[in-house]
């Protein structure tokens, strides 16, 4: 069979969100891979400029459904730096706790998705069933299961009481007892191992060269973690934990890294819940932010999440730039896909835990005469509406 192009996306069962891959396929082998992003652009960065800081907090939370808390944390701590306020220690600890609980739910979700991508639905059902435990803890603490809305400027919005701490500890103990089983299955079920071992290999040198992020790069032996390398909130001197790395560089290594990170996260959660400092959870924050610019970052479950914020002295930011971890992982993903099998496409793609809506951007190409265009929120919105109308979609 000669080579032909296999389209994956914009709509495809392997994709949870729209994006477009073009694979040059020779029989069952992928010769070349190409990616086109931009099907899920929502104009959030532009939207931020038109809203107040407190509204942006909730808008940025919705950059991603799975790592909502991380975006909120990064934005909040960036704006706190601009305001020059320091949240109380209890607030910072709860901030870390939310981050780790979110990591737990996300990694459990990912384990299930990885199982589903290789047709192992029982694995998927079990991990998602156990994920309910951490979802219930999150719901109990924050009042919501997905967008927790816990972070705010100057601390966190809700406190924990004794009852909640006890329940959370019970839930984490149950998960802690359960997780080694998944690690065990991931490394010993022959059909599963056959599908993930030696697949989508990313050597350490390539991981560094292509700037991969998060568990993807840690599974290639790069021990980078913002929690350790640029400690924020309660990390650093307060909360002890280890960075998990693996030398494998394949999908199996990524499963192992994530499963072990789960164990680390349980330990962090237990430490925080047992050593929660007394005191306030937040300080009062001003509504207007002094002029300045800041880069804020945190370790999301998928890798390093960065926000750049520029303020102009009003209650609305001048510019917000979001770099979600998935964007950093795309070049590495294309590298991993090349030379693999068609059957490995879904699992290799899923192995970076992609979040497509986080990464979508729009580029306006300036015409040769140099007429630079500056778009405001309304024009951007109208452009979006016209774009779909032109293609016959009724809005």
């Amino acid at each position: 069979m000669s080579t032909f192009i296999l389209p994956v996306g914009p709509q495809h069962p392997a994709l949870k969100e729209p994006t477009s891959f073009r694979f040059m396929v020779d029989g069952e082998t992928v010769v070349d891979a190409d990616l086109r992003l931009g099907y899920n652009h929502r104009g959030i960065e532009k939207g931020c400029e038109e809203r107040t800081y407190i509204q942006d907090l909730y808008l940025l939370e919705r950059v991603c459904g799975i790592c909502s808390n991380v975006h909120m944390t990064v934005f909040a701590q960036g704006v706190e730096k601009l305001m020059g306020i320091e949240p109380p220690k209890r607030g910072l600890f709860i901030r870390c706790l939310m981050g780790e609980l979110e990591r737990v739910h996300s990694h459990l979700l990912w384990l299930g998705v990885a199982g589903h991508e290789v047709g192992f639905d029982t694995f998927f059902m079990y991990t998602w069933r156990d994920r309910e435990i951490v979802e219930d803890i999150l719901e109990m603490i924050s009042g919501n299961r997905v967008n927790y809305g816990m972070q705010t400027f100057g601390g966190v919005r809700r406190d924990l009481d004794e009852m909640q701490i006890k329940k959370a500890l019970d839930g984490i103990a149950a998960l802690k007892a359960r997780t080694p089983y998944y690690l065990n299955i991931g490394a010993s079920e022959p059909t599963l191992v056959a599908r993930i071992a030696g697949v989508g290999v990313l050597p350490k040198a390539k991981a560094l060269e292509l700037n991969a992020a998060g568990p993807t790069t840690r599974a290639s032996g790069v021990d980078f973690d913002v929690r350790k390398d640029d400690p924020y909130a309660g990390f650093g001197e307060h909360i002890p934990f280890n960075i998990v790395t693996d030398e494998g560089g394949d999908v199996l290594a990524r499963v192992v890294v994530r499963a072990k990170e789960l164990m680390e996260s349980y330990n962090i959660c237990e430490y925080i819940l047992k050593n929660l400092p007394a005191g306030d959870i937040r300080v009062k924050a001003p509504r207007k932010v002094p002029e300045g610019e800041v880069v804020s970052r945190a370790e999301a479950q998928r890798g390093e999440c960065i926000h750049y914020i520029r303020s102009n002295g009003t209650d609305k930011p001048d510019r917000v730039k979001v770099r979600a971890p998935t964007l950093a992982n795309w070049p590495a993903t294309l590298y991993m896909l090349r030379g693999g099998y068609v059957a490995d496409i879904p699992i290799v793609m899923a192995a970076i835990d992609p979040c497509l809506s986080c990464t979508d951007r729009m580029a306006i190409i300036t015409d040769p005469k140099g007429n630079e265009k500056v778009w405001n929120w309304e024009t951007l919105r109208q452009y979006g509406i016209d774009f779909y109308r032109k293609r016959g979609i009724k809005l």
Partner: protein, 126 residues
């Protein structure tokens, strides 16, 4: 770790005799915990019309209108306000409840908010 064929088989067979983890949702419901962020409910008697909730709402789901204005014998002016709330825009962040200086807004534990008619999602508290 060594490979074992059917590594999950004992676990799977054990589940043959276990109660399912799922429930039959519309007939059987799991309650929500205390402090759940359902839809905002406003008490018009407490509202002073400061518009803080309207300013902070990220999804522009709230409107506060003055309903009536009365002056009693002592010359004290009392105003009544109503809140129009669009459930279809609400993102359940509870910022309105948090910012309200008089604690006139709280979140209830209603989570089945779907409706066939958009009009049914416009709620007026007065």
């Amino acid at each position: 770790m060594s490979l074992r064929l059917g590594a999950m088989l004992p676990e799977v067979l054990k589940h043959l005799f276990k109660k399912p983890a799922t429930v039959q949702y519309p007939f059987e419901k799991i309650g929500v915990p205390k402090g759940f962020r359902g839809r905002p409910v406003m008490d018009p008697n407490l509202c002073i019309g400061c518009q803080m909730c309207v300013k902070d709402c990220p999804s522009e789901a709230l409107e506060i209108h003055k309903e009536s204005e009365a002056t009693d014998e002592a010359g004290k002016v009392s105003k009544k306000f109503s809140m129009t709330f669009y459930l279809d825009r609400c993102s359940h962040c509870a910022q309105c409840a948090e910012i309200c200086p008089k604690k006139a807004i709280h979140m209830n534990s209603e989570f089945e908010d779907a409706a066939f008619d958009r009009g049914a999602l416009k709620i007026v508290y007065k």
